[in-house]
Amino acid sequence: MVKQKLVVIGNGMAPGKALETLIELAPEAYDITIFNAEPRVNYNRIMLSPVLSGESTFEDIIIHGDGWYIENGITLYKGHKVTDIDRDAKTVTSEAGVTVGYDKLLIATGSTPFIIPIPGHKLAGVLAYRDLDDVDAMLIAARSGGKAVVIGGGLLGLEAAAGLQMQGMDVTVLHLMPTLMERQLDESAGYLLEKTLTERGLKILTKANTKEILGEKKVTGVRLEDGTELEADIVIMAVGIRPSKNLAEQCGIKTGRGILVNDKMQTNDPDIYAVGECIEFEENCYGLVAPLYDQAKIVGKTLAAKDTDGFVHPETATKLKVTGVNLYSAGDFSGGEDREDIVLRDATQGIYKRLVLKDNTIIGVVLYGDTEDGPWFFQHIKDKTDISEMRETLIFGPAYQGGAPVDPLQAVAALPDDTEICGCNGVSKCDIINAIDEKSLSNLDDVRAHTKASASCGTCTGLVEKLLALTLGDDFKPDAIKPVCGCTDKGHDEVRRRIVAQELKSIPAVFQELEWSTSGGCAKCRPAINYYLICAWPDEYEDDGFSRFINERIHANIQKDGTYSVVPRVWGGMTSSKELRAIADVVDKFDIPAVKYTGGQRIDMLGVKKEDLPGVWADLNSAGMVSGHAYAKGLRTVKTCVGTDWCRFGTQDSTGLGIKLEKFLWGAWAPHKLKLAVSGCPRNCAEATCKDIGIVCVDSGYEIHAFGAAGLHIKGTDVLGIVPTEEAVIEHVGALVQMYREQGHYLDRMYKWKDKVGFDYIVETIMGDAKARKVYYDRFVYSQKFFQIDPWAERVAGKEAHHFNPIEIVQPKAGILEPAE
């Protein structure tokens, strides 16, 4: 069969879903080409709010990465806006001049934000809230703080306002109507929402009609109809969207408010389909994701030549994606003579629930504060269930049907199989349960990966977890703390806490008291516990070498061929002819094949045989050199620049301070490696701002930086503060290192520890609390008494000699052990 050509205009969530459906059903049917006006892959647009608020990153919300397009043989033109459709020649042409022919065309141009054409709407700083470019622009504006005005108190406007506020801006929301989100909420819920948001620091003006946006070139403020003026550095317009129908209209496809389609999403040209926010169906336009996904599945099936039910205008439910605000609404809740209300209020808990009934069925629901029962009510709206039997307890939700209060799990168990659990992705209860059974899923992430349930806005996470608990029984551990390894269900923090609290001083004691499921642990937990014990009991615990990775056991770095590399310490990067000569001699004597300068200002000798290590170390020791711990979860290097000794820009003796720090810190074991640097001036030649701890010298003293890294992840440092003297640097750094040593999870770099406990907490302790700092510092100094012993010298003197002396079998009987080949 010759493949047909399918061209898709637009790369949002609806066409993404349509293609997923199509490719699953008929992977070979089409050559697919996508034109995307945005210069990127398909992402989850409803998750822009968490990106704006900083709770997610763009990477987190990608639906189809570049790999997906390659895997499925799809040509994706990123940043190509289609300017022309030629229906006679059956081609489309992009602004960049690319023309592609089609057999079938899918238009998914989405919608454009509605910009109120008031004076000043074209000023720089007036933004919509629609795509990642808008979010990026807002994030840049938010970086310098300042004031934001959001016009529109609907779903999008409030999400934008909350996000900007979380980014540190002073935000005012202007809403034309008397209560917020009046299309989705009744007045009571609108009031509660306004109250919650006001308490959280948003300013909200209702009945506010914006007259003019003020400013010369750039926005400076807005003026309302009543004359009120508000200052603003940015203005966000979030008053609604309009279907983008122009392209279709230009080529003669029938349009109304949007592109007109039938229930198979076909336009009046049978080879042209349209899907998503750009369409109009039976006088309805759509902006929420659930109906768009329904449409997308229909298009996908139709293109795959599979039978499908036609699209039916659905009831939709609404949620607000603002952290800490729970609201849910669905159906019709305007008052009327034939309608009755059931209302439940709990003022202290901030809970409001309202059901609108008509002819013994639920036709509308508004929930505020506690939204867990939303999908259950919504199902009854869709099913038109006769509720007269349970009317008295209906408002209490499924848990109370049938008498006594029951376990919330039972309530979920009682939901009908086709209840929609995840409204964003249209996933029903039975979809989830089947996936859990058939694919043996055991946790939330697995369910998200296989069904997409709770993978979008995440408000149904609790329901999905309950389904997991129902299906798996005791095997499911909800929001379990990540265990140290498969040998235990305890997390790192609990293990550390109990080692100290119960005075556990050996690995077997930890295994016993914390009920390890294996007798001897594994290669993940043993090194972690060995470190935690070293850190907790520096004077008592005897290091267990056999619970260390080979590098730390042998004090050299294993290479891929089983040989080792040796890196002596070069204090602060300063060396001498004597040291260099000794290194050269060692290289010659032991026939070491490779010698390399490292990124940490020292010298690496690579390809040393294990048996030669003690000899190599003995020679280096006799020239005054010690182990550089290049293998250690502990202090590696302190990189320096030449500072005031030589540099015409240097403000302090960075080299001298670097050496002092290295002499102070070496030998200390830590959760992960520790790299430091000291730069003599803000030109930062020692690259101190991507180190675990960096010192940047300035005229007035020493800036202490921390939490950088330049490995798997690149992290710039955060500044903790400035201290005046070298002594103060050493005390602060010692305390910081000890705090990390005592709190960090094994194998977490310093920045990961910071992400877990919070930057502010660390700064307050180290910079703001002199007493706490001194206590950490003293504990570090005490611990160092036991660990500043050169491990090479110990082994040269004969410690653990068995490592370096293999047992040799010589020919026991002539010919018995001939090589087999």
Binding site: T518, S519, G520, G521, C522, A523, R526, P527, G545, F546, S547, R548, F549, I550, N551, R553, I554, I558, K560, D561, G562, E800, H802, P806, I807, E808, I809, V810, Q811, P812, K813, I816, L817, E818, P819, A820, E821
Partner: protein, 115 residues
């Protein structure tokens, strides 16, 4: 080292192998790893991981398993089978302890081929 019987070759005192550690045995045909568990059992395996030839003798010993130092594959000391999702097997050689000394099956050594 001397041959004590037809089939068994004497290697070392049990105490010369560190607990939860190993010794390397160099043979004319390659290296063996001689492991001792926390319970004092001794196992001999080819010292080459089938994945990327990592020296298993340098790994961490836990229960009756060893984790390769290069890429953390885990092998059973009893069967030599890779554990979990990884697939592969390392040759094992029978050992026994006689009067506190470790002996290895010479027959198996001759038949098999160490690393």
């Amino acid at each position: 080292m001397s041959v004590k019987s037809e089939n068994w070759l004497d290697l070392c005192e049990v105490s010369e192998i560190p607990s939860q550690g190993s010794r390397i045995v160099k043979t004319p045909t390659g290296c063996l790893a001689l492991f001792k568990t926390a319970e004092g059992e001794v196992f001999a395996l080819n010292d080459k991981c089938p994945h990327k030839q990592g020296p298993l003798s340098q790994g961490i010993v836990h229960d009756k398993f060893v984790t390769c130092p290069l890429h953390a594959w885990v092998f059973s000391l009893e069967t030599g089978e890779a554990q979990g999702a990884d697939e592969g097997r390392v040759a094992t050689f029978p050992t026994r302890i006689v009067n506190g000394r470790v002996e290895i099956s010479l027959t198996a050594l001759i038949e098999g081929k160490a690393a």
